[in-house]
Amino acid sequence: MEFIGKIFVMAIAAIFVQNFVLMRFLGLCPYIGVSKKLDSAIGMGMAVIFVMTMASTFTWLIQSYLLIPLKLEFLQTIAFILTIASLVQLVEMIIQKLAPALYKALGVYLPLITTNCAVLGVAILNINENYSFIEAILNGLFGGVGFTLVLILMAGIREKLEKAELPRAMKGMPIAMIVAGSMALAFLGFSGLKL
């Protein structure tokens, strides 16, 4: 029971209190870039959840059973990036095969998950926080869920904004930035939660 409680706390912390996009400001590129349409935002979110969970798993294993025993912790960054890049390639192939429409909608942002700092961020955070294997996987999963949640919220708002009558200077990116700022302010409210 204690374990379930801990998982719940982790979930709340990763999704709301320490949201990757709005509280840690990681992964802003896909957050702004892929949030124009709800469909592609959901697809991108799923891809990021998958990549983050897998990356957490593999990087934790590599760190614990390869780098630490051999005293190669300084290789952490490059080994992690290598792992993430390969995973993204794999995801790209799978999506292209199974969902060509999604592949087209995501476009250049799919390979950009490679350089999505949220993915590398979650991998390094797992190590820094001394999470156990299970905790690391869950943290990756919940981090991805938090990213997806914010991405979908943003996409929903921006789809409405498309139809709104805005001053021309505000159309597109400027209003997206303002919305992103307001959302970050709103999420700041969660930081008062005592977990």
Partner: protein
């Protein structure tokens, strides 16, 4: 030792991932029609959207997968159509090349009557917002540079009267200027059509001519409408409009137009030939009269 370990570890990781990806790429291989890549290579890559598809890549895919007509690429012209036809193995149907026509010849600042001197943001869109533009004519060109700026191919340039001239060779018919013009003066017309009504004024009768700086406004006299052998011209809200589907380039409307609102590049040549023929006929008549007199004299003498 640590250097050796790092090399081995990273090398092993790289090899492992590489093999994994190689295996996955075989397993998840997607068949892409090589024709698409070939067609993308041929298309001009301007991504102008004149074909109605999102960019050149989208058009190539639409051709191969959905059987969209291959003659939609305006910037590419006949050369590209021929090349696509070879790839697709179908007959090339010539495209009807369209070029932009500006339906106004008021000639800009130098010869347009002005209500006031506009000194503001130098775009047409801003200019027409200030009490309907500085021109006395509410429909004419306001001689800023929106169409010139919109043209990606450098086909529009101002002449010495700051009237906008479209270079038919450079114009690709992409329609960017049509969207840019706030007065809706520009229309895409087949390059084969020569005769155009270069006025967009809906003012009534002589009022239009009074306001037009160039004095070449359509005064809705309906002479062209009556003269046209194909009934291609109609009056729409005090303005003669040519139906280009019916027009046969005969230019009779241009000949009869009292203000010169209708433009036909052959009008002057035709007028010159007509004058020459008339002179010739008069000369022949004179000769005939002389000879007639000559014979009459001879018969009298006899």
């Amino acid at each position: 030792m640590i250097i050796l370990y790092s090399i081995i570890v990273l090398g092993a990781l790289g090899l492992l991932y590489g093999l994994g990806l190689a295996f996955a790429s075989k397993k998840f291989q997607v068949h892409v029609d090589p024709k698409i890549d070939e067609i993308v290579g041929i298309l001009p890559g301007a991504n102008c959207g004149a074909c109605g598809q999102p960019g050149c890549g989208g058009y190539a895919e639409a051709i191969v997968n959905q059987g969209v007509a291959i003659n939609k690429c305006a910037p590419g012209g006949d050369a590209v159509i021929g090349a696509i036809a070879r790839i697709m193995g179908i007959e090339a149907s010539a495209s009807d090349k369209k070029v932009a026509v500006i339906h106004c010849q008021s000639g800009g600042k130098n010869n347009t009557f002005l209500r006031y001197d506009y000194q503001g943001i130098a775009t047409c869109k801003a200019t027409v917002l200030v009490s309907n533009g500085p021109n006395l004519c509410n429909y004419g060109c306001v001689y800023q540079n929106d169409c010139i700026a919109a043209c990606m191919f450098g086909a529009i340039s101002p002449d010495e009267n700051s009237m906008r001239i479209i270079d038919k060779d450079k114009c690709t018919g992409c329609g960017a200027c049509v969207i840019a013009c706030p007065r809706n003066l520009i229309e895409l017309v087949s390059v084969k059509k020569r005769v155009h009504i270069l006025c967009s004024s809906h003012d009534k009768g002589v009022e239009a001519k009074k306001r037009c700086g160039n004095k070449t406004a359509c005064i809705n006299c309906s002479l062209c409408l009556k003269k046209c052998p194909k009934e291609a011209i109609s009056m729409q809200d005090n303005l003669a409009v040519i139906d280009y589907e019916k027009c046969i380039n005969c230019g009779m409307c241009a000949d009869v137009c009292p203000t010169g609102a209708i433009f036909d590049p052959l009008k002057e040549i035709r007028a010159q030939k007509k004058a020459e023929a008339k002179a010739k006929a008069e000369a022949a008549m004179q000769k005939f009269e002389e000879q007639k007199e000559h014979y009459e004299q001879k018969t009298e003498e006899k």
